[in-house]
Subunit: 152 residues, 2 copies
C-alpha cells in the first residue's frame, strides 16, 4: 500500500482532520447562537450534521496523532474500508446540510428581498460558509482514503 | 484494467446512464411545469443542474452504446480520468441542487405550516425526489469509475 500525503497516520491527514473539526465547530457555534434556528428544519439538520462531523473528525484526528506519535502505519484494509465509508457518509451529509441551509439563506436574502433580522442573517451566512469549508476538507480526505484503498 | 459490471462499455453502465437521464428529465419536467419556479433561486438551479446531468449522461450513454455495439473496451486511462471528473462534478452539483430545493420544500411544507398552492407543491416534491434518484445513480457510476481508475 502506497504511503503518500494524506493517507491515515500522516501529518497532512491530521491537519485535514483538524480543519474539518474547526470549520464544523465554527458552523455550529455560528448557527446555535442565533435565536430562531429551531424554526427551520434545514438549520437544525445543519447543526446535527456538523455535530456528527466533529465527532467523526475528532476521533480520526486522535487516531492519526497516536499513529504519528508511535510512528505506526494505519494501512489495515479493514480499518481503511471503515474510514472510507465513514468519510463518505459524513461528506454526503455535510454537503446536503450545507446546500439545504444555503437554499434557505439565498431564499431569504435574494428571493424574498433581503433578510429582516440583520445580525442573525450574517450568522446564518457564516454558518453555511463554514459548513461548505468543512465539506471541502472532508471531501479531500475521503478522496485520498478511497484512492489508498483502491490502489492498495 | 479489470472489467467488472458498471465499467464504461458494459450493459450495466449503459443502464445506469439511461436511468440518470430518465430521472433528470422527469425532475426538469416536473419543476418546469410549475408556475412559480423562477421565483426561487434554488429551483432554477435545480433545473440548470439537471439539464447539465441530462447532457452528460446522454453523451456517456451514447458512448457506452457505441462501445457495446462495436464490442470495444473503453479503458483508456485518459478517457477514464475525464469520466471520473465529469461524474464527480455532476454528482456534486446534483446533490447540492436536490438538497437546496429539498430545504425550501421542507420549509414550505413543515416549517411554515403547509403549502398554499396544492398541486404545485406536489410537483416541487416530485422534482426533488427525482433529482435525488438521479444523484444516487450518478453517485454509483462515479464510484465505479473512480475504482476502475484507481485499481487500473
Amino acid at each position: 500500500m502506497k504511503n503518500f500525503a494524506g493517507t491515515p497516520g500522516t501529518l497532512t491527514a491530521l491537519i485535514l482532520r483538524l480543519f474539518q473539526c474547526l470549520f464544523a465547530v465554527g458552523s455550529i457555534a455560528s448557527m446555535a447562537t442565533t435565536k430562531s434556528f429551531f424554526n427551520f428544519t434545514a438549520f437544525s439538520y445543519l447543526i446535527a450534521s456538523m455535530g456528527l462531523q466533529v465527532i467523526w473528525s475528532f476521533g480520526l484526528a486522535f487516531l492519526d496523532a497516536c499513529a504519528l506519535a508511535k510512528k505506526k502505519v494505519l494501512h489495515n484494509p479493514c480499518l481503511l474500508s471503515l474510514f472510507v465509508v465513514g468519510d463518505w457518509v459524513t461528506a454526503t451529509l455535510s454537503l446536503a446540510a450545507a446546500s439545504s441551509s444555503a437554499g434557505i439563506t439565498v431564499l431569504y436574502f435574494n428571493d424574498l428581498g433581503g433578510c429582516g433580522l440583520d445580525k442573525e442573517c450574517r450568522k446564518y451566512q457564516l454558518a453555511v460558509g463554514l459548513a461548505f469549508m468543512s465539506w471541502i476538507t472532508v471531501w479531500i480526505s475521503s478522496l485520498i482514503m478511497f484512492w489508498t484503498l483502491a490502489a492498495g
